[in-house]
């Protein structure tokens, strides 16, 4: 099977852009990715484009060039961008195309996500009585995790402080004001034990990546980034997942993150000990803590010491969310996973500027998790 490599990345800043349609942000990101790859839009043979809010994001061809290529829409919750990348890589791996693109874009209204529970297959009373909030799940999952594994409130605050600090060094991030752990702990509780500055917010942005056959990469770049594995998993019965009015009693079942992570490591022939830099879904500070273990990057409970030692900071043993993560960048759902890959590609190229991790990183890892219990992992390497 042919291997897919990333030859170009493009990122529209994440934040608030009144009056600018999501499709225009997406087109900007695509142009940046094409320029980075040194290719023109008419050379692109096919691609995948994801969005949560835009009903037919494939309309972006009207802004880029009507070349007749297949551009397929992807809609897969918070795993949307991971899915787009996986499919764009697969189209190369199977020989369908030589040059593909993955695009994500979104423009969410302010505030927490509000939706009709029926779209998630959940009865109306669940929303009417105030249970249909994804933030409840994150509060409850980390509360139980802290109880079982000895994680402190200070650790949650350190994670948030680290990510806002990293975002301050990222000109395309949204929340660029550094916050101390003390300032994070002084913000109001929204869903115990999670506080205002421990949550990410939905916002706006776009990202794109250009992929090609590994054996043709030399035509475009001296620093291709290899797509070593992509994996997507949905929840299994018994796992504790977002938007679950109930779940069965019984033996603990792994989350889809654990399942996707294991599949990706196995497919790549790369283990967690080989990962040099990671981007983990930090919907909230607790999620980053839990996802460190669910992705095999540490044992349950080790986070308390690792985070206190600065192991996940830029310059630490395993830098996590070097661009500020979701906490620093916010979450335009369709673009979020491509923003993660953009950052890993910069880090592996040694081109991340002020936030470049030291040494010569070779392996990068990205992870998404979201409703109703879906997880996407990619493993990239030089």
């Amino acid at each position: 099977m042919t291997e897919a490599v990333i030859i170009g990345v493009g990122l529209h800043p994440f934040g608030r852009f009144p009056g600018k349609p999501a499709l225009d942000m997406g087109a900007d990101a695509v142009r940046l990715a094409l320029a980075d790859a040194g290719v023109n839009w008419p050379q692109i043979q096919g691609g995948y484009i994801g969005s949560y809010e835009v009903a037919n994001p494939d309309a972006i061809v009207g802004r880029l060039g009507l070349t007749g290529i297949p551009l397929r829409g992807v809609f897969n919750g918070c795993a949307t961008a991971g899915t787009a990348v996986a499919l764009a890589a697969r189209a190369i791996e199977t020989g369908e195309h030589d040059l593909t693109i993955a695009i994500g874009l979104d423009k969410h209204p302010r505030g927490a996500f509000a939706a009709d529970p029926s779209v998630a297959g959940i009865p109306s009373w669940y929303g009417q009585t105030g249970l249909f909030l994804t933030t409840h799940f994150f509060g409850m999952k980390i509360n139980r995790y802290m109880h079982e594994h000895g994680i402190s409130h200070e650790t949650l605050a350190r994670v948030a402080s680290k990510n806002f600090g990293n975002a301050a060094a990222n000109e395309k991030a949204w929340r660029r004001t550094p916050l101390t752990p003390e300032e994070v702990l002084a913000s109001p509780v929204l869903n115990y034990p999670l506080r205002q500055f421990m949550y990410c917010g939905p916002n706006e942005g776009a990202a794109a990546i250009v992929l090609c056959r590994a054996d043709q990469a030399h035509k475009y770049t001296g620093k291709p980034v290899r797509v070593r594995a992509t994996a997507l998993r949905s929840r299994r019965l018994g796992a504790f997942e977002v938007q679950s009015p109930s779940f069965p009693v019984g033996e603990v079942v792994d989350s889809p993150t654990v399942d996707a992570s294991r599949a990706a490591y196995e497919s790549a022939g790369i283990g967690p000990e080989d990962v040099d830099v990671a981007q983990l879904q930090d919907t909230d500070a607790g999620s980053e803590v839990i996802h460190m273990a669910e992705n095999g990057l540490c044992k349950d409970g080790e986070q308390e010491r690792l985070i206190a030692e600065g192991a996940t900071a830029i310059g630490g043993r395993l830098p996590v969310n070097t661009d500020g993560g979701l906490l620093g960048n916010g979450e335009p759902i369709g673009a979020s996973g491509l923003r993660q890959i953009h950052e890993i590609v910069l880090q592996l190229r040694g081109a991340a500027g002020e936030r470049q991790i030291p040494g010569t990183p070779r392996v990068g890892y990205t992870h998404l998790y979201g409703a109703p219990g879906a997880s996407a992992v990619t493993i990239l390497s030089t």
């Binding site: 009709d116 109306s124 009417q128 009585t129 105030g130 109930s246």
Partner: protein, 149 residues
């Protein structure tokens, strides 16, 4: 005004209604006729074996608190239809032994008065009042220690 406040359940067949001495308060779940998986709310199709044969099952009214959080801001409306004057509440999963873990409102809003493993008991709470004065009630769990014997 001395008229008695009318109460209505937030949904039909979610819990026994109206509860009384001969009809004790219980959540109404279901049990797969083929594999025995217990579901709440009652599910016509089994998420373990995909069977479409199920029978009604009243769930235990006592359990232990598995985890919890608080809701300190008013949720977006719709879908939330609680009163404009927002009172923070707590939410948790209560493990009903041998049956399932059910998500519910908790009557105790103070996280410092909740703990994982705490015994809990099913109750009802009026979570909103309609314009005509009708109280709409939903199920909730309350710390069982609060009971006086």
């Amino acid at each position: 005004m001395t008229t008695r406040t009318e109460q209505l359940p937030v949904a039909e067949d979610l819990f026994t209604w109206p509860p009384g001495d001969d009809n004790p308060l219980r959540l109404i779940g279901s049990e797969c006729a083929d594999c025995g998986l217990v579901s709440f709310p009652a599910a016509p199709a089994c998420v373990r074996c995909a069977s479409t044969e199920s029978k009604r099952r009243l769930l235990a009214d006592r359990g232990t608190l598995w985890t919890y959080t608080t809701q300190d801001f008013r949720p977006p409306s719709p879908p939330y239809d609680g009163p404009e004057a927002f009172e923070p509440y707590a939410v948790g999963y209560v493990e009903l032994p041998g049956e399932l873990l059910v998500e519910a409102r908790l009557t105790e809003p103070d996280p410092d008065k909740l703990r994982i493993g705490q015994p809990m008991r099913l109750t009802l709470v009026p979570y909103t009042v309609r314009d005509d004065g009708t109280e709409v009630v939903t199920f909730a769990f309350t710390p069982a220690e609060e009971e006086t014997s």
